[in-house]
């Protein structure tokens, strides 16, 4: 096993983690501010990817496709918030789970009805395709590196938005005492719509960026959604910092376990058995990580009780 391969895998894990952060940030914001558990968040990821694929097919521009994913997901988020989600804030978690599960059914089948069951493809633009040479003789796909950069940039922007801007102050105030900030004259329902649309937009962009590496298909959002849940459970629900740390941890664990465990078992047993045991364990690794974190900190790394 060469060091170069290991570094490449670490970069892959980082790229995966950064994408998970874009999903998890929206989920954790929505939970922190509105107290809502949103299973339909994966649908915005899918909507973003489909909007990007359709736009790219029509215009040929990857930048326009990214913008389209952002706009489509944010618009879908705002519409859903105003028609359905708004009624759920005062309900218990069970109702929220069921109503958003219903939304998944509607979004997934609606997309299948519009675009068909076959996967769509989103091409990586020419200026980002091909490998780039990094120090120590590492060749790494430019596009994946760009994803890491975009993800970190968005994460930085989000932190700045929450920490420095007026709307960020309102969001943080909404997390700690929603009656009080309503009483101070902040239009709380507009704020909620904004936060929900923001979360949806982040998920949509993540979907578009990943859509260029994987295929764009119905049901692509749910596996990512569940990983994002794992991320925010590890990081502590409601904490953006926790979501970032959790996402990187999960991304690295998932990628490195898939890479290292079969090799580690290969030292002890024959190759085919090692691959099967190793990959079985690797697929469970992030859940084991989560169970481990919860044993010591039941509210996650940065969670408040």
């Amino acid at each position: 096993m060469s060091l170069i391969l290991l570094i490449e895998q670490i970069l892959n894990g980082l790229q995966f983690g950064v994408m998970l952060f874009l999903m998890a940030a929206g989920l954790t914001l929505i939970f922190g501010v509105m107290g809502l558990i949103n299973l339909a968040h994966g649908s915005f990821y899918m909507i973003g990817a489909f909007a990007a694929a359709a736009t790219a097919a029509a215009t040929g521009s990857f930048m326009l496709a990214l913008v389209a994913s952002l706009v489509a997901a944010a618009a879908a988020g705002a519409i859903v918030e105003m028609t359905v989600i708004r009624r759920l804030y005062t309900r218990d978690h069970l109702d929220q789970v069921l109503a958003t599960f219903a939304l998944i059914l509607i979004f997934s089948e609606g997309t299948r009805w519009m675009f068909g069951s076959f996967p769509l493809f989103l091409e990586i633009p020419d200026y980002l395709s091909g490998p780039i040479s990094l120090p120590f003789g590492i060749e790494y796909p430019q596009y994946r590196l760009a994803i890491i950069a975009v993800g970190l940039f968005v994460a930085g922007g989000l932190f700045a938005l929450i920490a420095k801007t007026r709307i960020g102050i309102q969001i943080r105030a909404g997390e700690s005492d929603r009656e009080m900030i309503a009483a101070l004259g902040v239009d709380i329902s507009k704020l909620y719509t904004f936060v929900f649309a923001l979360g949806a937009a982040l998920a949509g962009v993540a979907g578009a960026l990943i859509g260029a590496i994987q295929s764009v298909q119905v049901g692509m959002g749910e596996p990512v959604l569940i990983l994002a849940f794992v991320v925010i459970v590890i990081g502590g629900i409601g904490s953006i910092k926790g979501a970032l740390l959790g996402a990187i941890l999960v991304g690295l664990t998932d990628t490195l376990a898939g890479f290292l465990l079969p090799k580690a078992f290969g030292l002890m047993m024959e190759a085919s058995a090692a691959t099967s045991v190793g990959s079985s364990l690797a697929s469970m690794s992030i859940y084991i990580l989560m169970a481990g974190v919860l044993l010591f900190k039941p509210t996650g790394l940065f969670g408040s009780t």
Binding site: H93, A99, L103, S276, G300
Partner: protein, 327 residues
């Protein structure tokens, strides 16, 4: 008699009458649909024990459904291939006897429910929902990547397992087995709900602090309820596998967990017959809407959304009103 009790009796009779009528009309497909409804009802009754009585919103019950399914798949595939399940430290042969398979399914799903519950119940609220979901996914991915029993493709069992004295390949006889088990499970669950354990569990759901203050440990009650709930769902998984003579990791998928929860909500949460009515309604919708349009999940989603937003008590409450019968 309470209106709900009368409705419950009608539901059971109706569930029995439909396949008998189908038998007269020589429509085996309808008998199979009714069997599916009965099996889903058992799964729902299992989840409802944790969800309705204990207030534990588990989004990972597919794990137990799948374990039950694979208990059947693994035992039957070994019996089919005449190979032992394990040889060390003692030899265990496969089997195609339903009662043994049910016991194994119940034992293993109870064991997993105990372990998953013991870990998950350290948390509550939204953490609990996500953690049960994550444990379900963990088993799902494990089954996909574990090649011994078919991996992603699952296992096909060529002959339905046997029950002493019955021909299980005859749809109506297999329906009879499932229906009897449903009645048995309903009876046990209703007795448990009336027992001091069930009453304490209901108390813990309504007010955890007060229950604690009178010397009852809610964690222990929740864990017992979660284990029983998982065991019942595991039994239904074994029956479902036998109905299809096929098991695959899809049984573990989180959509399955969601669907089991949907049965409860369509019928009415916290009511003994809620999941039974819900499962029957689900199969009916699947059959009717599925015939209308390939995209019937859109309608299902809309109906579910309507029920959650505007008719929280489900179908039973629409018919008999808010009051809950205690039987």
């Amino acid at each position: 008699m309470h209106k709900e009790t009368i409705l419950n009796a009608c539901v059971l009779l109706g569930l029995l009458a439909v396949p008998l009528w189908a038998l007269q009309m020589d429509e085996p497909f309808i008998i199979t649909l009714a069997t599916k409804a009965v099996i889903f009802a058992i799964a729902g009754v299992g989840l409802n024990f944790a969800l309705g009585l204990g207030g534990l919103v588990s989004l990972g019950h597919a794990a137990f459904f799948g374990i039950g399914g694979y208990a059947m798949g693994i035992l039957a595939s070994h019996a089919q291939g005449y190979t032992p399940v394990i040889e060390w430290p003692l030899t265990i042969e496969g089997t195609n006897s339903m009662p043994i398979i049910w016991l194994v399914a119940i034992a293993f799903s109870a064991l997993f429910a105990f372990v998953i519950g013991a870990l998950s119940l350290r948390t509550s609220g939204v953490y609990f929902i996500m953690i049960t979901l994550a444990f379900g996914q963990m088993l799902y991915f494990f089954m996909i990547s574990w090649p011994t029993y078919g991996g992603e493709d699952g296992l096909v069992i060529y002959v339905r397992n046997g029950f002493p004295g019955l021909n299980t390949l005859d749809p109506i006889q297999f329906f009879g087995i499932c229906f009897t088990l449903l009645c048995l499970v309903l009876f046990i669950v209703s007795r448990l709900a009336q027992s001091s354990f069930g009453l304490a569990l209901g108390g813990a759901r309504q007010n955890e602090e007060r229950t604690q203050a009178i010397g009852i440990v809610p964690y222990r009650l929740y864990l017992i309820a979660f284990t029983i709930s998982g065991a019942i769902t595991g039994l239904s998984g074994a029956l479902f596998a036998d109905l299809n003579r096929f098991v695959s990791p899809t049984m573990f998928s989180w959509q399955t967990s969601g669907e089991i929860m949907v049965f409860i909500i369509l019928g009415g949460m916290g009511r003994l017959f809620g999941p039974v009515v819900g499962a029957a309604l689900f199969i009916l919708l699947e059959h009717l809407l599925g015939g209308l349009s390939e995209f019937w999940h859109i309608y299902l989603g809309a109906i579910l959304l309507g029920v959650v937003l505007f008719a929280r008590g489900g179908l039973i409450q629409l018919i008999v009103g808010r009051e809950v019968a205690h039987d």
